[in-house]
Amino acid sequence: MDKIFYSDIRSGKSLTYRQLIEDIQNKTTYSPYCKSSDFYVVFQNIIQSLFLEKEIVLLDSDFTDAEVKNLVGEVDITKSEPVALEKQITEDDFLELLNCKTGTWLITLFTSGTTGLPKKVSHTFASIARQVKKSDRHIDDVWGFAYNPTHIAGLQVLFQALVNRNSLIRLFGLDSSEIVNEINSKGITHISATPTFYRLLLPPIGTCPTVKRLTSGGEIFDEHTLQQLASLFPNAKLTNVYASSEAGTLLASKGNEFVIKEDIKDKVCIKENELLIHRSLLGQSTSFNIDGEWYHTGDLIEVSCQDPFTFHFISRKNEMINVGGYKVNPTEVEKYLRECLGVLDASVYAKVNRIMGSVILCDVVRENDRVTEKFIREQLQAKLQEFKIPRVIKFVEQLNVTRTGKILRK
């Protein structure tokens, strides 16, 4: 049967695995930089890079030119080279071929750094697909695709679906009624998404009985939200995962408690309540904060049981702000704010928000009152991705005087 690879009601595309293979086979050029708002194009380029065993660099489609220049330097990201695949791929040997091409392949993405600019992280197939499970049990899974494909969580869903030859159905960026319709009409069984994605589906506007497994990451759901989710997805189990762009998915929890499994027991440790991960579990980057053999995650935890080792997350040690699952570095936003015309100084902080987890706010000292919120925002829009732009800009005489207990910079 000609199985669907990817279906997207936004672009009107519905493509089978056979078409995917044909499209990759017919490509005569390869560009190592991938920046496209068409998810299918991103998927195709990633798979093509695997077959060619060439490194691929993923750039968010909404990165501004200034951001791209900062990240990759003065290179022409549209430049491509002529290529041809060594041999004909067929639907039958597609997976087999894919598996044996993974040795030297690298995929590079960018994650918000702790010192200013986003940092570059490169993963091998082994590190990005550590939690991918291939088995007959997963043959009939249908995945809702609810992440940006240039982010690590989106890539993990892509590979989980690919190795089991499952269908991917786009849910990212759809309205809640469209999402429920897509889940029910396509029979989606698995969804991995941010807590914000799930919260925006509530209160439930129907039920989605086909969904068996929900995966989320980061924040804890309160009891009321869990009950509403259970009524929307009556047959689904919810798993919370601990993942980061640096290490990929590492741990999975039931509810809010994480149990460290035997196979990575020696590769995780706790120092002054902070979770440390052994360097062998990380992707490759020059900008990791490595202390000897250990990477400091910046996540503070509380141990609830020693045997088996069980813990839950308390907060972040560093100042990264989590906006709907995307990490924002306030230092980076402040840097761009200070570069805006009419801005003398700026302070960026988070406010707890029930929809996004946190929202970004800022205090700005301006040159004069002709400098408006709109004027600053327009300048930022040319420099930063939308989710990094402060939602409210407050003008102050001097910084740090208006922070209250409700406004936290985490």
């Binding site: 309205d175 009624s177 925006l200 209160p203 709907g324 928000n353 929809i355 996004m356 929202v359 409210v392």
Partner: protein
């Protein structure tokens, strides 16, 4: 209602979206007014600054009428 319309239009215009002329109780924030999750987050902050009420405190609200109920 007029004050709420002004706040909604500030949020829409901040993101380069067209302002709306009128709203009514049944207007859906997402489907009729075109507010996405970032806009909704901004809306809560601006309403809280104006009215000192967190409209999402007991769960997600989806229409203008539900907001007005929280503010009354």
């Amino acid at each position: 209602m007029r004050k709420l319309l002004l706040i909604i239009n500030t949020v829409l215009e901040n993101r380069g979206k067209a302002a709306v002329a009128t709203i009514n109780e049944s207007s859906s924030l997402k489907n009729d007014l075109g507010l996405d999750s970032l806009d909704l987050a901004e809306l809560t902050v601006r309403i809280e600054a104006e009215y000192d009420v967190d409209i999402f405190e007991d769960g997600i609200v989806t229409t203008v009428g539900e907001i007005l109920k929280k503010l009354s």
